[in-house]
């Protein structure tokens, strides 16, 4: 707790007290926003917890549950969609047996979608732990996932 309090304090001053920036940095540090972290931010910024919670649930970038070791992001922008990104997404769901927004039981993968990464020439795109995989097809999914097996 002492550590959390110190971290939140630092992140607040780094962000000049801006709530959204603080929450983003807290999440970067802990991979998600825990109840304790939200309470600490609320206390330090003197913003009611209900408002902090409101913000944390309104914006899709925030996660209230711990994330797996690798975050898989499938781009569902229009360009990726017309190049059949849904097939890629479904194959990942099937292969890992995980729903969008959820984490595999072994805490290895969290599956998320994003509305556009702006790398449309490479569509459909999936990003695993920050690494981009372009021109994805359902067949290629297995190969990519194997890299992280």
């Amino acid at each position: 707790m002492a550590e959390l309090s110190q971290v939140v304090g630092e992140l607040i001053s780094r962000n000049g007290g801006l709530l959204i920036g603080v929450l983003e940095d807290v999440q970067d540090r802990y991979s998600y926003l825990s109840e304790d972290a939200l309470r600490e931010v609320s206390k330090r910024l003197r913003i009611p917890l209900r408002d902090v919670y409101g913000v944390a649930t309104f914006y899709r970038a925030f996660k209230l549950k711990p994330c797996g070791k690798y975050l898989i992001n499938v781009c569902l922008g229009t360009a990726c969609h017309v190049r059949r990104a849904t097939g890629v997404l479904e194959t990942i769901r099937r292969e890992l047996n995980v729903e969008v927004g959820e984490t595999t039981e072994d805490m290895k993968f969290t599956l998320e979608t994003v509305n556009c990464l702006g790398a449309c020439a490479l569509g459909p795109i999936m990003v695993v732990g920050g690494k981009y995989y372009g021109q994805m097809t359902p067949q290629k999914v297995k190969k990519v996932l194997k890299e992280y097996a």
């Binding site: 000049g16 801006l18 709530l19 959204i20 920036g21 929450l23 983003e24 913003i47 408002d51 409101g54 913000v55 309104f58 914006y59 899709r60 970038a61 925030f62 569902l76 922008g77 229009t78 360009a79 969609h81 017309v82 190049r83 059949r84 097939g87 479904e90 194959t91 099937r94 994003v114 509305n115 556009c116 990464l117 702006g118 790398a119 449309c120 020439a121 490479l122 569509g123 795109i125 981009y132 372009g134 097809t137 359902p138 067949q139």
Partner: protein, 620 residues
């Protein structure tokens, strides 16, 4: 640093650049090129130059996005401008040995014009660039976006110096005369907005740069923020001086980490040189810029929602009036412009209102950047004068659809825009002419669709996007987009009824008329425009239970043509459901009850034996 000192510094940097005789290897380091190996290419060049002891004589420059993303990673060798595309790490030693040291070209890395089959040597001759009119994007190719010296060496911040010698009203007059309109989509005249804000009562005022580029398939603003961040900052300082603001904010999507990094760096550099912070170039004009990150909410692209987001609240739009120029950030008068709008400002101050207004059409001046994506050969960023036709962009610059397919339609303007059929490609792109056709220019996303794209599926895609992104404040938008999505899902899954089309129209009109902000007011556009131009496709789904493009899964089945199948077993091996039966060298069959229609067999078959068909056919 005061103005005199800055001019001295600038003169030195400009002279040094002009006198530079060294070969310079520029590598595109935009997000697109980075994602396909650009960073590794840069590292390989650096290591190789170091190995050969060439670090001092050959310059290496990471630049912003060149825009021809289809061919990334892109390497351009200056001063000649030799253009190499799809450069891999393996090619790096060869480029240095052959081209840099001996001036020889490497044929396989050159771009081949798909029409004439001729190799193109120089960047300026590549048809994709040749047919563009690049103003805002022009400097992306020339500078390292993380170096303020680079920006100054091509004349950066000279417009600021020029503007600071003018009266604020004079600047507003120039922007008004130039005819610049907001590039974010709505097209409000920029000069008038500045004037409103200048005249608003109050001593504390803000300027904001809206970099929350949320339209899927649009990344023009990202490339400007990443590739030339100082041009945005310079525009903002000029605007702030004209309006009387002392604080500026840049709001960037959190999906654009590189843009955040480059902007942050640029702001720090500008502060160090005394261009920002306490006093701009030694004048009695303090101005500083802060960067706020978004958190993944599409609605925050709307002005009042964006302001709420900076203030740390949920991004919900509010009723206007009062206009944000009267009551904006923290309740103070606020002038908000889009990234591309701000980046146009230094150009106009430099070259004059008359120059700017000579480009474009009667009501839409200057150029516009579009991101041309989807089923198109040359994916990338395209900057053309206002009034260019859709055909020029899709065919002349984009090269049409890949694999000899026919372009069917384009989607313009993102979730607020519409789909236009190829019969309307003669239309010029400007603020006004597309609205009549049921679309809008929007912020600049242009998604090309070919015969394999189902327009009902596209409408469903956008209504799903909008029902997820609706902030929930207005009932019509919150409930209406959901109901539209459900009806469209029914149609794509074979449960559609003919009266659904009337219901969609009625629902669309209600959502449009009774929602507060732009998101809701334009939400029905993708649905209504596809219904207007592609009614036949809707009816095929509803009455024949058939998806003509073979996209909608519930209405599409796969079947193997026994005459074509060679029994190679490839599909059988790949099928995730083991739904394919058959022995080697004998025709295979698909067990329809086990098939999940994932399409893998269709994609892997090398002889085209797997065919799409209607669902009834296989069950007959």
């Amino acid at each position: 640093m005061n103005i005199g000192e800055f001019e001295g510094l600038a003169r030195g940097l400009i002279e040094r650049r002009e006198a530079a005789k060294n070969v310079c290897i520029t590598v595109c380091s935009g997000t697109g090129c980075r994602a396909c190996g650009g960073e590794e290419v840069v590292r390989a060049f650096a290591a190789e130059l170091e190995n050969l002891g060439l670090t001092g004589t050959v310059e290496l420059r990471d630049t912003g996005c060149h825009g021809f993303c289809e061919r990334g990673p892109i390497v351009v060798i200056l001063p000649e401008g030799i253009f190499y595309q799809r450069v891999t790490v393996d090619a790096v030693p060869e480029i240095i040995e052959q081209t840099v040291r001996h001036g020889k070209l490497i044929e396989r890395l050159l771009y081949e014009d798909p029409q004439s089959k001729e190799k193109v040597v120089y960047e300026k001759d590549v048809p994709f660039y040749k047919r563009q009119h690049r103003l805002v994007l022009a400097n992306n190719l020339l500078i390292d976006p993380t170096s303020i010296e680079d920006y100054i060496s091509i004349g950066g911040y000279q417009s600021l110096v020029k503007a600071l010698a003018m009266q604020p009203e004079e600047i507003i007059e120039i922007i008004k005369r130039s005819g610049l309109r907001g590039r974010g989509g709505a097209g409000f005249p920029t000069g008038r907005k500045w004037e409103h804000c200048r005249r608003a009562k109050g001593t504390i005022k803000y300027v904001i740069c809206n970099g929350d580029e949320g339209d899927p398939g649009a990344y023009m603003d990202r490339s400007v923020m990443e590739g030339n961040p100082h041009s945005v900052i310079e525009g903002m300082i000029i605007g702030a001086y004209a309006i009387g603001a002392n604080e500026g904010w840049i709001y960037v999507r959190n999906e654009y980490p590189l843009a955040v990094k480059h902007l942050t760096r640029a702001v720090e550099q500008a502060r160090e040189l005394g261009i920002l912070a306490g006093s701009v170039l030694g004048l009695d004009f303090p101005f500083d810029v802060r960067i706020a990150k978004g958190a993944g909410a599409f609605v925050c692209g709307e002005g009042t929602a964006l302001i709420a987001s900076i203030e740390g609240k949920i991004g919900v739009p509010r009723q206007r009036p009062p206009r944000t120029t009267q009551q904006g950030l923290f309740g103070k008068p606020t002038n908000m412009n889009n990234v591309e709008t701000w980046a146009n400002v230094p150009l106009i101050i430099d070259k004059g209102a008359e120059w700017f207004s000579s480009i474009g059409t009667e009501t839409s001046k200057g150029t516009k950047i579009f991101s041309l994506v989807g089923k198109v050969q040359n994916t990338g960023l395209v900057e053309v004068p206002m009034g260019a036709t859709l055909a020029q962009i899709v065919y002349d610059i984009g090269g049409g659809a890949p694999n000899g397919r026919d372009v069917k339609a384009i989607q313009i303007g993102g979730p607020s825009g519409g789909c236009l059929p190829k019969e309307l490609f003669y239309l010029p792109i400007d603020y006004d002419s597309l609205v009549e056709a049921g679309a809008m220019m929007g912020s600049g996303g242009l998604i090309v669709m070919d015969e394999d794209t189902c327009m009902v599926d596209v409408a469903r895609y956008f209504s799903n996007f909008l029902q997820e992104e609706s902030c929930g404040k207005c009932v019509t938008c919150r409930e209406g987009t959901q109901r539209m999505y459900e009806i469209l899902t029914d149609i794509t899954e074979g449960r559609g009824k003919e009266e659904d089309l009337d219901l969609l129209e009625e629902l669309g009109a209600t959502v449009r008329d009774a929602s507060l902000c732009g998101l809701g007011q334009t939400a029905p556009n993708p649905v209504l425009s596809t219904m207007r131009y592609f009614r036949g496709e809707y009816l095929a789904h509803i009455t024949e239970k058939r998806c003509p493009a073979g996209v909608c899964r519930a209405l599409t089945a796969y079947r193997i043509d026994p005459d074509r199948c060679t029994g190679c077993m490839l599909c059988k091996k790949q099928c995730p459901q083991q739904a394919i039966e058959g022995e080697r060298k004998k025709p295979h069959t698909i067990v329809q009850d086990a098939c999940i229609r994932c399409r893998i067999c269709f994609d892997v078959c090398k002889v085209g034996a797997v065919m799409k068909t209607g669902v009834e056919v296989v069950h007959a």
